[in-house]
Point group: C3
Chain length 101, copies 3
């Protein structure tokens, strides 16, 4: 069972966006996601650090094509309007078939 | 002090497995671990998103050989029975000797 | 809008260091940061796992030169005195200009 190279997409967004973003991730092809509560400061200088859990950090492991579709959706529907950031990392997974529908 | 290339293993599992998995990580050679509470949805369609903290995200930075042993253990003892996922990432660390026993 | 290759720096430290470290990250060039509460066990055998939220996991996405400056600061001002660990990962971001001042 050789490891499979996939993409980890990490998205940090306001908590209020969690349900909408995770629903769209599944629509775009993700088979699962992991959410952790976070806080921090964004590049707009917005201070969100006073209340723990006021932002969410959403992770999905997906095929490259799905990662590209997620980035496109973020770019079109979120980046212009919300303090959302995202980054992509190469990851190796075991049981890679779990991440592809 | 040149950076050292190691492997970050990220494991997402039911909270009830935290103690057992972290004990095994140390037995297999990890010198430390980081746990964050999370929630999410897995590839089995299991919905765990209603209660924050109902899963854990465990991170360990280890040598490649230890990462391979961890993957083998997950594959043999966890993947067939539990909704556990894991991914591996290349990372650079300073003070690499802290991560090797 | 091509993705830009940057560095993700992940720092795990005692909660009491959060404010000082994040202030220094911004001074060194970070445009934002994400903090999640965590617990765990470090390489000094220190057990911190009994109280959730007793450590913090700080993430910043920055240019390589800023990542290098952060590592140097950690090495000089934190590693000798505190149970701080850090690792660096290559990441691709969209809207890379958000991460560079």
């Amino acid at each position: 069972m050789a490891p499979k190279r996939l993409r980890l997409v990490t998205i940090v967004a306001e908590t209020i966006l969690e349900e909408r973003i995770t629903r769209e991730l599944v629509e775009l092809g993700a088979t699962g996601f992991t959410v952790t509560e976070s806080h921090g400061r964004g590049s707009r200088g917005m201070r969100t650090g006073d209340i723990p859990g006021d932002s969410v950090r959403i992770e999905v492991v997906v095929a490259t094509s799905v990662a590209d579709a997620i980035v496109e959706r973020l770019r079109d529907a979120y980046f212009p309007h919300y303090a959302v950031i995202a980054w992509l990392t190469d990851v190796d997974v075991v049981r890679g078939e779990k991440y592809v529908r």
